[in-house]
């Protein structure tokens, strides 16, 4: 009975300690899972930003930049495009999200996560589209531009819509695990 209680306690402690890592591992899984019922016109919200925003806000710009790079590396490995990368957008967003914390914490209200994530998604989408357009410069450029703009707009909308739910929960959880650690 005592051993069982102890193992449960240790398990809980481990989960609380490693919450940030566990949630980090879940991003590629959701990215692969691609739940259609959460999408619109076949496009999904940009999942990595939901994790990157709270993480960068808590740990700062440099940490956000590094984890933006890590996320980009993982997500690039899951997609088949060898010529285009998500790393530049995520690095930029990680750095930017870290700066938000430094300036003023009050500015970031519950529903402002949506606005920030929308902006981040717009940045990442634009950087990705510009890579596609440069990569296919000689081919039919115009035919790739219109679907690309549609993707950016839908992604911005969905990311902004879901960000208040996910980001506020993750921020609360990450802050909690950090406090426990300290």
């Amino acid at each position: 009975m005592g051993a069982n209680f102890e193992s449960k306690y240790l398990m809980n402690k481990f989960l609380k300690k490693k919450l940030s890592i566990i949630s980090f591992i879940f991003i590629p899984i959701i990215f692969l899972w691609h739940p259609n019922w959460l999408g619109f016109l076949g496009v999904q919200p940009y999942w990595p930003l939901f994790w990157l925003l709270p993480w960068s806000m808590i740990n700062g710009s440099i940490n956000g930049l590094v984890f933006g790079l890590f996320l980009g590396l993982i997500l690039d490995s899951l997609t088949l495009d060898n010529n285009f990368s998500q790393i530049p957008g995520l690095i930029f967003c990680g750095f930017l999200f870290g700066r938000i914390k430094l300036h003023s914490d009050i500015l970031v209200g519950h529903f402002r996560y949506g606005l920030i994530c929308s902006f981040g998604s717009f940045l990442c989408g634009t950087i990705y589209l510009s890579q596609i357009l440069f990569g296919n410069f000689s081919d039919s450029n115009s035919s790739m531009f219109i679907p690309g703009v549609k993707n950016i707009l839908v992604e911005v909308f969905l990311t902004g819509l879901f960000a208040p739910f996910f980001c506020s929960q993750l921020l609360r959880m990450l802050k909690f695990s950090r406090r426990k650690l300290q």
Binding site: Q44, T79, L80, D81, G135, N136, S143, M144
Partner: protein
């Protein structure tokens, strides 16, 4: 009092029979105005089992199906014989691997599907993936247990295809949207809306004659070439099971 009762019971409108006749008359007036539509519809239902063409139609369709199957088998045999003579790619069903779609990205930036069969099951990079309707894409990456397929709609997808009616080759390029572009490197290329596009019979990379799609619009504004939008026959966002055709190079 009794007299009154007797007189009133003898009125014509107290006779039930008259009202029945009146109702029949009204019904017939309605039938006349509606030009017998009720009759005709009623007759439609009662005569349905005795329609002359029904049984005949089934027999004819059955015979036509049998005829088509026999013809198809003969053509298949003929095709295999001719391809052996020309030493081209074979399209046999013996090397097919059936796989389930475990992850799909059919909208947005990344257009790919993940299958539950990998290098352990003999899937190789470059294998063709087909589903109900026709060609879906090409295997671009394999792990031990899974394989990733680049869909025809992905921006990095480029395939040589064949326009069946005019018998000319073109390049099918994914645009990131739902309709890939077919580029014909000649301004005079004979291509029309409704033309059927398939994999080239002379291709050395893809199995021959796999249906791909139908031309839905043509853009002739470019100086050097003609481009067309293709509506794909296979719908990757709906398909749960696919076939992987092994490469025979």
């Amino acid at each position: 009092m009794l007299d009154i009762r007797r007189i009133s019971s003898s009125r014509w409108w107290h006779k039930k029979k008259i009202w029945i006749y009146f109702a029949i008359f009204l019904f017939l007036v309605f039938v006349r105005i509606s030009k017998g539509s009720l009759y005709k519809d009623f007759f439609y239902f009662i005569s349905k089992p005795f329609w002359p063409g029904q049984f005949q139609k089934e027999v004819i369709l059955k015979t036509l199906n049998q005829e088509s199957l026999i013809k198809l088998n003969l053509l298949k045999k003929d095709n295999i014989r001719l391809r052996e003579i020309l030493s081209l790619q074979k399209s046999s069903n013996n090397d097919n691997i059936v796989a389930a779609v475990i992850s799909r990205k059919t909208g947005g930036w990344w257009r790919q599907i993940l299958l539950n069969k990998g290098s352990k099951d003999g899937v190789e990079i470059g294998s063709t993936v087909t589903g109900p309707g026709g060609l879906l894409g090409i295997v671009s990456n394999t792990s031990l247990l899974t394989s990733s397929v680049t869909l025809l709609t992905a921006p990095e997808s480029k395939l040589g295809v064949w326009v069946d009616r005019s018998q000319i080759n073109g390049l099918l390029v994914g645009s990131g949207g739902n309709h890939p572009s077919l580029i014909m490197y000649s301004k005079d290329a004979d291509i029309k809306v409704g033309d059927f596009v398939s994999s080239s019979p002379a291709s050395s990379l893809l199995p021959p004659n796999i249906p791909i799609g139908i031309v839905i619009s043509i853009d002739e504004t470019l100086q050097s070439n003609k481009t067309a939008k293709i509506s794909l026959l296979a719908k990757p966002h709906l398909i749960d099971w696919v076939q992987i055709l092994k490469v025979n190079i």
